[in-house]
């Protein structure tokens, strides 16, 4: 009789609809252009000090320092932007639907509450992914441009100073490691994973808080706890070696089951320094990301499924 019955109802498609909608909603909120604008400025400002630094200083450490600087100045704004945006946009979405009562109209359709939550989160993740991909592209282009300049200067200087081919080649390899590598893409993925975890945390908090501000503040607190819990744990265990009981180890373990341990993400700094990222490290990060996002989404669902509006 109705069209609805002749088409098989696919859950994936419904999730995509909710996610796509959340994505457009966020894109049309101008505040995020503003944030993105800052990140672009931050990355693009790397272009400005090109002339002074591409002279003879480009040889050796100076050239590599320059490349490191670009990476850290790019990944810094990317981290800041993605974490702030992941938290704030998630914290905005739910209270807005409750306040405008648009939530009634959605939940009055045959939409399971889990799909609603997961769809919203996926919309935020899509936004994070797209903006990080754009910034990543910008960073890679910049790095490539500078890298080729640095390599050129190195080669000509090396020859004029009569270095042997092995020395030039080894310097070249060292410099290439500072350019756009797979490890660098891994670091960008790590930035994305961390912001995804933060978005999922913000989702959980916003299911029981009705204010965006509260959600944002608590999420940032958890972000900092995530960064310092490993330090605190190390300090505690090293300081009181004798008194470290099994109980306190379990306590630390269970803390890290609930609060994400962002120590894993220190690999980003290592990549900026030119170290490579092992595949196993990347797999670990991805699994940790999936674990935390799934845990927080399911917890959100538990809170949200009993909620009345």
């Amino acid at each position: 009789m109705t069209a609805r019955k002749s088409i098989p109802f696919s859950r994936v498609r419904r999730l995509a609809v909710i996610a796509g909608h959340a994505f457009t909603q966020l894109v049309r909120m101008k505040v995020f252009y503003f944030l993105g604008f800052f990140a672009v400025i931050g990355i693009a400002s790397n272009f400005f000090n090109l002339p002074q630094q591409s002279g003879p200083e480009a040889l050796g450490d100076n050239g590599m320092d320059l490349l490191r600087l670009i990476k850290s100045w790019s990944l810094g704004p990317m981290t800041l932007f993605s974490v702030v945006m992941g938290i704030v946009s998630t914290a905005l979405l739910l209270p807005k639907d409750v306040e405008d009562r648009t939530l009634y109209t959605i939940l009055a359709k045959p939409v399971p509450r889990l799909d609603y939550l997961a769809g919203k989160l996926m919309g935020v993740l899509l936004l994070l992914f797209v903006s990080l991909a754009l910034m990543d592209l910008l960073m890679v282009i910049m790095l490539q441009v500078r890298l080729s300049i640095v390599l050129e200067v190195q080669a000509s200087l090396g020859q004029s100073r009569g270095w042997d081919a092995a020395a030039i080649e080894s310097l070249r390899q060292d410099t290439l490691a500072q350019g756009p590598t797979w490890a660098l893409q891994g670091a960008v993925a790590a930035v994305f994973i961390r912001s995804a975890i933060m978005a999922a945390i913000a989702l959980l908090i916003s299911t029981f808080s009705s204010s965006t501000l509260f959600t944002t503040v608590v999420s940032f607190l958890i972000y900092f706890i995530g960064h310092f819990q490993a330090d605190a744990r190390d300090f505690y265990f090293e300081g009181g070696e004798a008194g470290t009981s099994a109980a306190s180890r379990y306590l630390a373990m269970s803390v890290s089951l609930v609060f994400p341990d962002f120590q894993l993400f220190n690999v980003i700094d290592a990549v900026i320094q030119g170290k490579t990222m092992q595949l196993i490290q990347f797999v670990k990060l991805t699994l940790a990301g999936l674990y935390y996002v799934a845990v927080y989404t399911i917890a959100s669902w538990f809170v949200f499924s009993d909620k009345e509006f």
């Binding site: 009789m1 109705t2 069209a3 609805r4 088409i7 109802f9 696919s10 498609r13 419904r14 609809v17 909710i18 909608h21 457009t24 909603q25 049309r28 909120m29 405008d100 009562r101 648009t102 009634y104 109209t105 959605i106 939940l107 009055a108 359709k109 045959p110 939409v111 399971p112 009993d306 009345e308 509006f309």
Partner: protein
């Protein structure tokens, strides 16, 4: 199978820790047969919206059960055959009228050409074709109610639930909405609406229930409830005064009935307003 079955619904809301919970709905039972228009009337705060939300699974009953076409309201699939227009609805500001309907249609699994046709059909039904590509942010109250009604109808549900569909809408818009409800009835769609605007309910409903402080105090067929059983009305057009006098004399002579009054019936202010503003002879 009835379209709506609410059995002994009780809903308590926790207010503060100390005070005892507020009983918003107190042992309400309502059965609505398919194809009927049911009006729930009562003052503000009497539990109308809460009853509807329980029926849609938006709040969980403290006790009692609700079902739609036999499916338990607490299950998601009960919502496949129902459309809901909430009180003072508001939609995503960043979407246009057409995008709004597309969004809700997609949530119900519609897509492609079917969805497109459905959206155009609904926009025509609620007379918003002119505002199709305007953002919702610029819609008036009456337009919001109508796009809300269209949204409720998107998957062609057999039941629509309307919470105060005409509240806050000017007489013209309110007339349009009532005409829409009558159109739905003609198509055999069951309508469950609530309102505190009694004359409007009177005009469209087959069945009414009066709710007060969470309890249904009276319910039944509208015609039965409001008919004055021992009176008969005769309305004549262009009757000369002599004829009226003659009829009155006839009635008095017969002795089996009492002549109460005669005079000119008054049009309602609403009808006058509509006639003056739209040239419509209703």
């Amino acid at each position: 199978m009835p379209a709506v079955e609410i059995r002994h619904l009780v809903k308590d809301f926790k207010t503060s820790l100390k005070r005892q919970p507020l009983r918003a709905v107190d042992d309400v039972s309502i059965t609505i047969e398919a194809g009927e228009v049911y009006g729930l009337i009562g003052p503000n705060g009497s539990g109308k919206s809460t009853t509807m939300k329980a029926l849609l699974g938006l709040v969980v009953p403290t006790s009692g059960t609700c079902s739609i076409f036999g499916k338990d309201s607490l299950k998601v699939d009960s919502r496949e055959d129902v459309g809901f227009l909430p009180e003072n609805p508001y939609f995503y500001k960043h979407l246009t009228g057409a995008e709004t309907l597309e969004f809700y249609g997609k949530l119900c699994g519609l897509r492609g050409a079917v969805l497109k046709d459905r959206v155009s059909e609904l926009l025509a039904l609620v007379d918003l074709e002119g505002a199709r590509d305007r953002r919702i942010a610029g819609y008036s109250k009456g337009m919001l109610q109508r796009i809300g009604l269209a949204q409720a109808l998107v998957q062609e549900p057999r039941l629509v639930i309307l919470d105060e569909p005409t509240a806050g809408v000017d007489p013209l818009g309110s007339r349009q909405i009532r005409d829409l409800i009558l159109k739905l009835r003609d198509r055999g769609i069951t309508v469950f609406l609530c309102s505190h605007l009694l004359e409007q309910v009177q005009e469209v409903c087959d069945q009414v229930g009066i709710i007060f402080k969470g309890k249904i105090v009276k319910s039944g067929r509208l015609q039965d409830l409001i008919a004055i059983e021992d009176q008969t009305e005769i309305i004549l057009k262009d009757a000369p005064p002599e004829l009226v006098a003659e009829i009155e004399a006839l009635v008095k002579r017969s002795g089996s009935a009492e002549w109460l009054r005669s005079g000119k019936p008054r049009t309602t202010l609403e009808r006058l307003f509509l006639r003056e503003t739209s040239g419509d002879e209703s």
